[in-house]
Amino acid sequence: MDQSLFGDSVPRKAGTRQTVAAVLFALYLIWDILSVTGVLYLMLQDAMLTSPVTRFVMPAIELLLPMAGFALLIPGAANRATKTATVLLSVGYGCTVLCFAGCALSLSAASGEVMYMQIEQMNAYCRWVSLACAVVSFFAFSVILRGNAIEPDTASWIGLLLLEAMIGAVRSLFNVVGTVEPEEHPFVSFPGKVFLVVCIVLLIVAYVRLARCTAFSGAGTDAPQGVYSPLNKYMAGIVVASGVTLAALWAVYRFAAPWLRTL
Protein backbone atom coordinates (compact mmCIF):
# COMPACT_ATOMS: atom_id res chain seq x y z
CA MET A 1 0.00 0.00 0.00
CA ASP A 2 1.33 3.47 -0.89
CA GLN A 3 1.55 5.38 2.35
CA SER A 4 3.24 8.50 0.95
CA LEU A 5 1.93 11.57 2.77
CA PHE A 6 0.64 13.41 -0.27
CA GLY A 7 -1.08 10.43 -1.96
CA ASP A 8 -1.42 10.02 -5.74
CA SER A 9 0.04 12.47 -8.29
CA VAL A 10 -2.50 14.88 -9.84
CA PRO A 11 -2.54 17.22 -12.89
CA ARG A 12 -0.61 20.40 -12.16
CA LYS A 13 -3.48 22.94 -12.38
CA ALA A 14 -5.80 20.97 -10.11
CA GLY A 15 -2.82 20.11 -7.92
CA THR A 16 -2.17 23.75 -7.02
CA ARG A 17 -5.73 24.27 -5.76
CA GLN A 18 -5.63 20.95 -3.97
CA THR A 19 -2.27 21.73 -2.35
CA VAL A 20 -3.46 25.13 -1.12
CA ALA A 21 -6.59 23.48 0.31
CA ALA A 22 -4.38 20.87 2.03
CA VAL A 23 -2.28 23.65 3.57
CA LEU A 24 -5.42 25.42 4.85
CA PHE A 25 -6.68 22.19 6.43
CA ALA A 26 -3.27 21.58 8.03
CA LEU A 27 -3.23 25.11 9.49
CA TYR A 28 -6.74 24.61 10.89
CA LEU A 29 -5.68 21.41 12.63
CA ILE A 30 -2.41 22.87 13.92
CA TRP A 31 -4.52 25.64 15.46
CA ASP A 32 -6.65 22.89 17.00
CA ILE A 33 -3.53 21.28 18.52
CA LEU A 34 -2.53 24.64 20.01
CA SER A 35 -6.02 24.94 21.45
CA VAL A 36 -6.14 21.40 22.91
CA THR A 37 -2.69 21.70 24.48
CA GLY A 38 -3.53 25.06 26.02
CA VAL A 39 -0.80 26.89 24.13
CA LEU A 40 -3.38 29.08 22.39
CA TYR A 41 -4.87 30.01 25.74
CA LEU A 42 -1.42 30.99 27.07
CA MET A 43 -0.81 33.14 24.00
CA LEU A 44 -4.18 34.88 24.24
CA GLN A 45 -4.93 34.70 27.93
CA ASP A 46 -4.88 38.46 28.45
CA ALA A 47 -7.45 38.96 25.71
CA MET A 48 -9.54 36.01 26.87
CA LEU A 49 -9.58 37.07 30.49
CA THR A 50 -10.59 40.63 29.73
CA SER A 51 -13.31 39.89 27.20
CA PRO A 52 -15.68 36.93 26.77
CA VAL A 53 -16.09 37.99 23.12
CA THR A 54 -12.65 36.45 22.34
CA ARG A 55 -14.04 32.96 23.07
CA PHE A 56 -16.35 33.36 20.06
CA VAL A 57 -14.01 35.33 17.79
CA MET A 58 -11.22 32.71 17.88
CA PRO A 59 -13.37 29.75 16.67
CA ALA A 60 -14.92 32.00 14.00
CA ILE A 61 -11.47 32.80 12.59
CA GLU A 62 -10.28 29.20 12.96
CA LEU A 63 -13.24 27.75 11.05
CA LEU A 64 -12.64 30.12 8.12
CA LEU A 65 -9.70 27.87 7.18
CA PRO A 66 -11.63 24.64 6.42
CA MET A 67 -14.43 26.71 4.88
CA ALA A 68 -11.95 28.25 2.45
CA GLY A 69 -10.23 24.89 1.89
CA PHE A 70 -13.44 23.17 0.82
CA ALA A 71 -14.40 26.18 -1.31
CA LEU A 72 -11.10 25.78 -3.18
CA LEU A 73 -11.87 22.12 -3.87
CA ILE A 74 -15.30 22.77 -5.42
CA PRO A 75 -14.08 23.57 -8.98
CA GLY A 76 -12.00 20.40 -9.13
CA ALA A 77 -14.76 18.04 -7.99
CA ALA A 78 -14.83 14.93 -10.18
CA ASN A 79 -18.63 14.76 -10.51
CA ARG A 80 -21.83 16.50 -9.49
CA ALA A 81 -22.24 14.48 -6.30
CA THR A 82 -18.73 15.37 -5.11
CA LYS A 83 -19.35 19.02 -5.98
CA THR A 84 -22.59 18.99 -3.98
CA ALA A 85 -20.88 17.36 -1.02
CA THR A 86 -18.01 19.87 -1.10
CA VAL A 87 -20.43 22.80 -1.30
CA LEU A 88 -22.27 21.34 1.71
CA LEU A 89 -19.01 21.10 3.65
CA SER A 90 -18.00 24.66 2.84
CA VAL A 91 -21.48 26.04 3.60
CA GLY A 92 -21.65 24.01 6.83
CA TYR A 93 -18.42 25.53 8.11
CA GLY A 94 -19.61 28.92 6.85
CA CYS A 95 -22.78 28.66 8.94
CA THR A 96 -20.71 27.79 12.01
CA VAL A 97 -18.45 30.79 11.36
CA LEU A 98 -21.52 33.02 11.10
CA CYS A 99 -22.91 31.62 14.34
CA PHE A 100 -19.71 32.29 16.30
CA ALA A 101 -19.24 35.69 14.67
CA GLY A 102 -22.86 36.60 15.37
CA CYS A 103 -22.49 35.64 19.02
CA ALA A 104 -19.29 37.70 19.28
CA LEU A 105 -21.00 40.73 17.75
CA SER A 106 -24.03 40.28 19.95
CA LEU A 107 -21.94 40.17 23.11
CA SER A 108 -19.78 43.10 22.11
CA ALA A 109 -22.88 45.18 21.31
CA ALA A 110 -24.55 44.34 24.62
CA SER A 111 -24.80 47.31 26.93
CA GLY A 112 -23.63 46.92 30.49
CA GLU A 113 -21.79 43.94 31.93
CA VAL A 114 -22.14 40.67 30.06
CA MET A 115 -23.87 38.11 32.25
CA TYR A 116 -22.71 34.50 32.60
CA MET A 117 -26.17 33.34 31.46
CA GLN A 118 -25.81 35.26 28.20
CA ILE A 119 -22.48 33.55 27.49
CA GLU A 120 -23.96 30.12 28.28
CA GLN A 121 -26.85 30.84 25.93
CA MET A 122 -24.44 31.79 23.15
CA ASN A 123 -22.44 28.61 23.85
CA ALA A 124 -25.63 26.58 23.50
CA TYR A 125 -26.43 28.16 20.11
CA CYS A 126 -22.91 27.46 18.85
CA ARG A 127 -23.06 23.88 20.17
CA TRP A 128 -26.26 23.12 18.24
CA VAL A 129 -24.96 24.72 15.06
CA SER A 130 -21.71 22.74 15.43
CA LEU A 131 -23.77 19.55 15.83
CA ALA A 132 -25.69 20.34 12.66
CA CYS A 133 -22.38 20.99 10.86
CA ALA A 134 -21.03 17.65 12.12
CA VAL A 135 -24.10 15.81 10.75
CA VAL A 136 -23.76 17.59 7.40
CA SER A 137 -20.01 16.80 7.36
CA PHE A 138 -20.39 13.08 7.79
CA PHE A 139 -23.16 12.94 5.18
CA ALA A 140 -20.91 14.89 2.77
CA PHE A 141 -17.86 12.69 3.42
CA SER A 142 -20.01 9.58 2.91
CA VAL A 143 -21.15 10.99 -0.47
CA ILE A 144 -17.53 11.65 -1.46
CA LEU A 145 -16.49 8.11 -0.47
CA ARG A 146 -19.42 6.48 -2.23
CA GLY A 147 -19.40 8.72 -5.29
CA ASN A 148 -15.77 8.23 -6.32
CA ALA A 149 -13.49 5.29 -7.04
CA ILE A 150 -11.00 6.22 -4.33
CA GLU A 151 -8.21 3.72 -3.75
CA PRO A 152 -8.66 1.70 -0.51
CA ASP A 153 -5.62 3.19 1.22
CA THR A 154 -6.83 6.78 0.75
CA ALA A 155 -10.38 5.71 1.65
CA SER A 156 -9.14 4.35 5.01
CA TRP A 157 -7.70 7.79 5.78
CA ILE A 158 -10.85 9.63 4.65
CA GLY A 159 -12.77 7.35 7.04
CA LEU A 160 -11.00 9.18 9.87
CA LEU A 161 -12.73 12.38 8.79
CA LEU A 162 -16.04 10.73 9.54
CA LEU A 163 -14.66 9.97 13.00
CA GLU A 164 -13.81 13.66 13.40
CA ALA A 165 -17.42 14.53 12.63
CA MET A 166 -18.46 11.96 15.27
CA ILE A 167 -16.19 13.68 17.83
CA GLY A 168 -18.10 16.89 17.18
CA ALA A 169 -21.46 15.17 17.50
CA VAL A 170 -20.65 13.28 20.71
CA ARG A 171 -19.13 16.39 22.31
CA SER A 172 -22.21 18.44 21.46
CA LEU A 173 -24.45 15.77 23.00
CA PHE A 174 -22.18 15.01 25.96
CA ASN A 175 -24.59 16.71 28.37
CA VAL A 176 -27.06 13.84 27.92
CA VAL A 177 -24.82 11.56 30.02
CA GLY A 178 -25.65 13.72 33.03
CA THR A 179 -23.78 16.23 35.16
CA VAL A 180 -20.05 15.59 34.94
CA GLU A 181 -17.56 17.20 37.28
CA PRO A 182 -14.83 19.05 35.33
CA GLU A 183 -12.07 16.80 36.70
CA GLU A 184 -14.01 13.70 35.60
CA HIS A 185 -14.26 14.75 31.95
CA PRO A 186 -12.23 12.26 29.84
CA PHE A 187 -10.40 14.82 27.72
CA VAL A 188 -9.32 17.13 30.53
CA SER A 189 -6.72 14.60 31.70
CA PHE A 190 -3.17 14.40 30.31
CA PRO A 191 -3.70 11.01 28.54
CA GLY A 192 -6.94 12.35 27.06
CA LYS A 193 -5.16 15.37 25.63
CA VAL A 194 -2.37 13.13 24.28
CA PHE A 195 -4.99 11.01 22.49
CA LEU A 196 -6.67 14.13 21.09
CA VAL A 197 -3.36 15.47 19.79
CA VAL A 198 -2.51 12.09 18.21
CA CYS A 199 -5.97 12.05 16.57
CA ILE A 200 -5.46 15.55 15.21
CA VAL A 201 -2.06 14.59 13.75
CA LEU A 202 -3.73 11.66 11.98
CA LEU A 203 -6.46 14.03 10.77
CA ILE A 204 -3.83 16.30 9.21
CA VAL A 205 -2.70 13.37 7.07
CA ALA A 206 -6.34 12.47 6.37
CA TYR A 207 -7.24 15.97 5.21
CA VAL A 208 -4.12 16.17 3.01
CA ARG A 209 -5.04 12.80 1.47
CA LEU A 210 -8.62 13.98 0.93
CA ALA A 211 -7.58 17.27 -0.66
CA ARG A 212 -5.15 15.59 -3.05
CA CYS A 213 -7.23 12.52 -3.93
CA THR A 214 -8.71 11.80 -7.34
CA ALA A 215 -12.17 13.01 -6.22
CA PHE A 216 -10.88 16.60 -6.61
CA SER A 217 -8.50 16.17 -9.54
CA GLY A 218 -10.96 17.60 -12.04
CA ALA A 219 -11.70 14.46 -14.02
CA GLY A 220 -13.83 11.50 -13.10
CA THR A 221 -16.89 9.40 -13.77
CA ASP A 222 -20.47 10.03 -12.74
CA ALA A 223 -21.40 8.97 -9.27
CA PRO A 224 -23.45 5.76 -8.97
CA GLN A 225 -27.21 5.84 -8.42
CA GLY A 226 -28.38 6.37 -4.86
CA VAL A 227 -25.22 8.15 -3.75
CA TYR A 228 -27.28 10.76 -1.86
CA SER A 229 -29.16 8.20 0.17
CA PRO A 230 -28.49 8.67 3.91
CA LEU A 231 -29.21 4.96 4.41
CA ASN A 232 -25.63 3.79 3.98
CA LYS A 233 -23.08 2.13 6.25
CA TYR A 234 -21.20 5.35 6.93
CA MET A 235 -24.23 7.20 8.29
CA ALA A 236 -25.42 4.07 10.09
CA GLY A 237 -21.95 3.60 11.53
CA ILE A 238 -21.75 7.08 12.95
CA VAL A 239 -25.27 6.98 14.38
CA VAL A 240 -24.75 3.54 15.95
CA ALA A 241 -21.27 4.36 17.26
CA SER A 242 -22.35 7.75 18.68
CA GLY A 243 -25.34 6.13 20.37
CA VAL A 244 -23.27 3.25 21.77
CA THR A 245 -20.58 5.66 23.01
CA LEU A 246 -23.05 7.99 24.71
CA ALA A 247 -24.92 5.03 26.25
CA ALA A 248 -21.68 3.52 27.55
CA LEU A 249 -20.55 6.89 28.94
CA TRP A 250 -23.91 7.31 30.66
CA ALA A 251 -23.48 3.86 32.23
CA VAL A 252 -19.98 4.75 33.44
CA TYR A 253 -21.08 8.02 35.06
CA ARG A 254 -24.31 6.57 36.46
CA PHE A 255 -23.20 3.16 37.77
CA ALA A 256 -19.42 2.80 37.73
CA ALA A 257 -18.45 6.29 38.91
CA PRO A 258 -19.57 5.88 42.58
CA TRP A 259 -17.43 2.75 42.90
CA LEU A 260 -14.47 4.20 40.98
CA ARG A 261 -14.40 7.27 43.25
CA THR A 262 -13.78 5.02 46.26
CA LEU A 263 -10.65 3.41 44.75
Binding site: M1, D2, Q3, S4, L5, D8, S9, E151, P152, A155, S156, W157, G159, L160, L162, L163, M166, I167, V170, E183, E184, H185, P186, F187, V188, S189, F190, P191, G192, V194, F195, V198, C199, L202, K233, Y234, A236, G237, I238, V240, A241, S242, V244, T245, A248, L249, V252, Y253, A256, A257, L260, R261, L263
Partner: protein, 190 residues
Amino acid sequence: MMKNKMTFFGAIERNIWGDKINANPYFATLSILAVMLAGAVAGGGRLFYEWFRWDMAMNNVAMAALIVWIWGYNVAESIIAAEDWKVALGRSLLLLPVLILAFVFGAVASVVVICLVILWLALMFISYALTSSGGRSGSRSGGSSSDDDPSIELSTGRKVSGTFAGDDFHGSDGKTYKRTGWGSSDWEKE
Protein backbone atom coordinates in the same frame (compact mmCIF):
# COMPACT_ATOMS: atom_id res chain seq x y z
CA MET B 1 7.84 -4.68 7.38
CA MET B 2 8.80 -2.13 10.01
CA LYS B 3 5.55 -0.26 9.38
CA ASN B 4 3.55 -3.48 9.89
CA LYS B 5 5.25 -4.08 13.24
CA MET B 6 4.64 -0.52 14.31
CA THR B 7 0.94 -0.82 13.45
CA PHE B 8 0.51 -4.19 15.12
CA PHE B 9 -3.27 -4.13 15.48
CA GLY B 10 -3.62 -3.44 11.78
CA ALA B 11 -1.55 -6.56 11.10
CA ILE B 12 -3.70 -8.62 13.52
CA GLU B 13 -6.97 -7.58 11.93
CA ARG B 14 -5.63 -8.27 8.44
CA ASN B 15 -4.63 -11.77 9.60
CA ILE B 16 -8.11 -12.39 11.02
CA TRP B 17 -10.33 -10.72 8.42
CA GLY B 18 -8.07 -10.16 5.40
CA ASP B 19 -9.66 -7.95 2.75
CA LYS B 20 -12.98 -7.73 4.59
CA ILE B 21 -11.66 -4.83 6.69
CA ASN B 22 -10.07 -1.62 5.40
CA ALA B 23 -9.45 0.30 8.63
CA ASN B 24 -6.78 2.93 8.98
CA PRO B 25 -3.62 1.02 9.95
CA TYR B 26 -2.54 3.57 12.58
CA PHE B 27 -5.71 4.50 14.44
CA ALA B 28 -6.41 1.32 16.42
CA THR B 29 -2.74 0.84 17.33
CA LEU B 30 -2.45 4.42 18.52
CA SER B 31 -5.70 4.02 20.48
CA ILE B 32 -4.24 1.03 22.30
CA LEU B 33 -1.01 2.92 23.00
CA ALA B 34 -2.97 5.92 24.29
CA VAL B 35 -4.95 3.72 26.69
CA MET B 36 -1.74 2.01 27.78
CA LEU B 37 -0.25 5.43 28.45
CA ALA B 38 -3.37 6.36 30.44
CA GLY B 39 -2.87 3.26 32.57
CA ALA B 40 0.83 4.00 32.97
CA VAL B 41 0.20 7.56 34.06
CA ALA B 42 -2.56 6.44 36.43
CA GLY B 43 -0.34 3.70 37.87
CA GLY B 44 2.86 5.73 37.94
CA GLY B 45 1.33 8.82 39.47
CA ARG B 46 2.70 8.18 42.94
CA LEU B 47 6.13 7.20 41.61
CA PHE B 48 6.47 10.38 39.52
CA TYR B 49 5.42 12.44 42.52
CA GLU B 50 8.10 10.84 44.71
CA TRP B 51 10.84 11.11 42.06
CA PHE B 52 10.12 14.45 40.39
CA ARG B 53 7.37 16.03 42.45
CA TRP B 54 5.09 15.83 39.37
CA ASP B 55 1.45 15.82 40.33
CA MET B 56 0.14 13.15 37.94
CA ALA B 57 -2.95 12.25 39.96
CA MET B 58 -5.49 10.81 37.56
CA ASN B 59 -9.19 10.70 38.15
CA ASN B 60 -10.42 7.08 37.92
CA VAL B 61 -13.78 8.10 36.48
CA ALA B 62 -12.07 10.19 33.80
CA MET B 63 -9.84 7.24 32.86
CA ALA B 64 -12.83 4.86 32.58
CA ALA B 65 -14.69 7.42 30.45
CA LEU B 66 -11.60 7.88 28.26
CA ILE B 67 -11.38 4.12 27.57
CA VAL B 68 -15.07 4.06 26.66
CA TRP B 69 -14.73 7.10 24.43
CA ILE B 70 -11.70 5.72 22.59
CA TRP B 71 -13.50 2.39 22.16
CA GLY B 72 -16.49 4.28 20.75
CA TYR B 73 -14.31 5.84 18.04
CA ASN B 74 -12.97 2.43 17.14
CA VAL B 75 -16.53 1.05 16.95
CA ALA B 76 -17.27 3.80 14.44
CA GLU B 77 -14.17 2.95 12.45
CA SER B 78 -15.03 -0.75 12.54
CA ILE B 79 -18.44 -0.06 11.00
CA ILE B 80 -17.03 2.33 8.39
CA ALA B 81 -14.15 0.07 7.39
CA ALA B 82 -15.79 -3.35 7.49
CA GLU B 83 -17.48 -5.01 4.53
CA ASP B 84 -20.24 -6.54 6.64
CA TRP B 85 -21.73 -6.18 10.12
CA LYS B 86 -20.17 -9.39 11.45
CA VAL B 87 -16.65 -8.13 10.85
CA ALA B 88 -17.57 -4.76 12.39
CA LEU B 89 -19.04 -6.44 15.46
CA GLY B 90 -16.09 -8.81 15.78
CA ARG B 91 -13.54 -6.02 15.56
CA SER B 92 -15.44 -3.87 18.07
CA LEU B 93 -15.77 -6.76 20.53
CA LEU B 94 -12.10 -7.66 20.08
CA LEU B 95 -10.96 -4.13 20.79
CA LEU B 96 -12.84 -3.67 24.08
CA PRO B 97 -10.94 -6.31 26.10
CA VAL B 98 -7.71 -5.33 24.32
CA LEU B 99 -8.15 -1.73 25.49
CA ILE B 100 -8.98 -2.80 29.04
CA LEU B 101 -5.97 -5.13 29.15
CA ALA B 102 -3.77 -2.37 27.74
CA PHE B 103 -4.89 -0.06 30.55
CA VAL B 104 -4.23 -2.70 33.21
CA PHE B 105 -0.83 -3.54 31.71
CA GLY B 106 0.03 0.13 31.60
CA ALA B 107 -0.99 0.60 35.23
CA VAL B 108 1.11 -2.38 36.33
CA ALA B 109 4.21 -1.60 34.29
CA SER B 110 3.76 2.22 34.49
CA VAL B 111 7.16 3.90 34.11
CA VAL B 112 8.50 1.19 31.78
CA VAL B 113 5.41 1.55 29.59
CA ILE B 114 5.77 5.33 29.37
CA CYS B 115 9.31 4.97 28.03
CA LEU B 116 8.22 2.20 25.65
CA VAL B 117 5.30 4.25 24.28
CA ILE B 118 7.56 7.25 23.62
CA LEU B 119 10.06 4.97 21.85
CA TRP B 120 7.26 3.30 19.86
CA LEU B 121 5.85 6.62 18.69
CA ALA B 122 9.31 7.73 17.60
CA LEU B 123 9.87 4.47 15.69
CA MET B 124 6.41 4.73 14.10
CA PHE B 125 7.18 8.25 12.92
CA ILE B 126 10.57 7.16 11.56
CA SER B 127 9.07 4.17 9.71
CA TYR B 128 6.38 6.44 8.22
CA ALA B 129 9.02 8.98 7.15
CA LEU B 130 11.17 6.24 5.62
CA THR B 131 8.21 4.80 3.72
CA SER B 132 7.22 8.25 2.43
CA SER B 133 10.78 9.15 1.35
CA GLY B 134 11.06 5.76 -0.40
CA GLY B 135 7.92 6.63 -2.36
CA ARG B 136 9.19 10.11 -3.27
CA SER B 137 12.63 8.84 -4.43
CA GLY B 138 10.73 6.40 -6.65
CA SER B 139 9.07 9.43 -8.24
CA ARG B 140 12.38 11.27 -8.67
CA SER B 141 13.82 8.33 -10.61
CA GLY B 142 11.14 8.92 -13.20
CA GLY B 143 8.08 6.92 -12.26
CA SER B 144 5.14 6.84 -9.95
CA SER B 145 5.82 4.53 -7.02
CA SER B 146 2.25 3.43 -6.39
CA ASP B 147 2.27 -0.30 -5.68
CA ASP B 148 -1.11 -0.67 -7.31
CA ASP B 149 -0.49 1.09 -10.66
CA PRO B 150 3.05 2.19 -11.61
CA SER B 151 3.19 4.78 -14.38
CA ILE B 152 5.66 7.06 -16.15
CA GLU B 153 5.30 10.44 -17.82
CA LEU B 154 6.71 10.86 -21.34
CA SER B 155 8.38 14.01 -22.65
CA THR B 156 5.11 14.71 -24.54
CA GLY B 157 3.28 14.87 -21.23
CA ARG B 158 1.38 11.62 -21.80
CA LYS B 159 1.18 9.18 -18.91
CA VAL B 160 1.64 5.48 -19.47
CA SER B 161 0.92 2.77 -16.94
CA GLY B 162 2.69 -0.57 -16.84
CA THR B 163 5.47 -2.32 -14.95
CA PHE B 164 9.09 -1.55 -14.24
CA ALA B 165 11.68 -4.10 -15.41
CA GLY B 166 15.10 -2.98 -14.28
CA ASP B 167 15.86 0.27 -16.12
CA ASP B 168 13.09 -0.35 -18.68
CA PHE B 169 9.36 0.17 -18.41
CA HIS B 170 6.90 -2.19 -20.11
CA GLY B 171 3.85 -0.09 -20.90
CA SER B 172 0.28 -1.35 -20.91
CA ASP B 173 0.19 -0.29 -24.59
CA GLY B 174 2.59 -3.13 -25.41
CA LYS B 175 5.60 -0.87 -25.96
CA THR B 176 8.85 -0.77 -24.01
CA TYR B 177 10.23 2.56 -22.80
CA LYS B 178 13.83 3.36 -21.92
CA ARG B 179 15.06 6.03 -19.54
CA THR B 180 16.98 8.81 -21.32
CA GLY B 181 17.80 10.89 -18.28
CA TRP B 182 17.00 11.33 -14.60
CA GLY B 183 14.14 13.82 -14.96
CA SER B 184 10.57 12.77 -14.30
CA SER B 185 9.70 12.90 -18.04
CA ASP B 186 12.93 11.44 -19.46
CA TRP B 187 11.39 8.33 -21.00
CA GLU B 188 11.26 7.38 -24.68
CA LYS B 189 9.88 4.51 -26.72
CA GLU B 190 12.46 1.94 -27.80
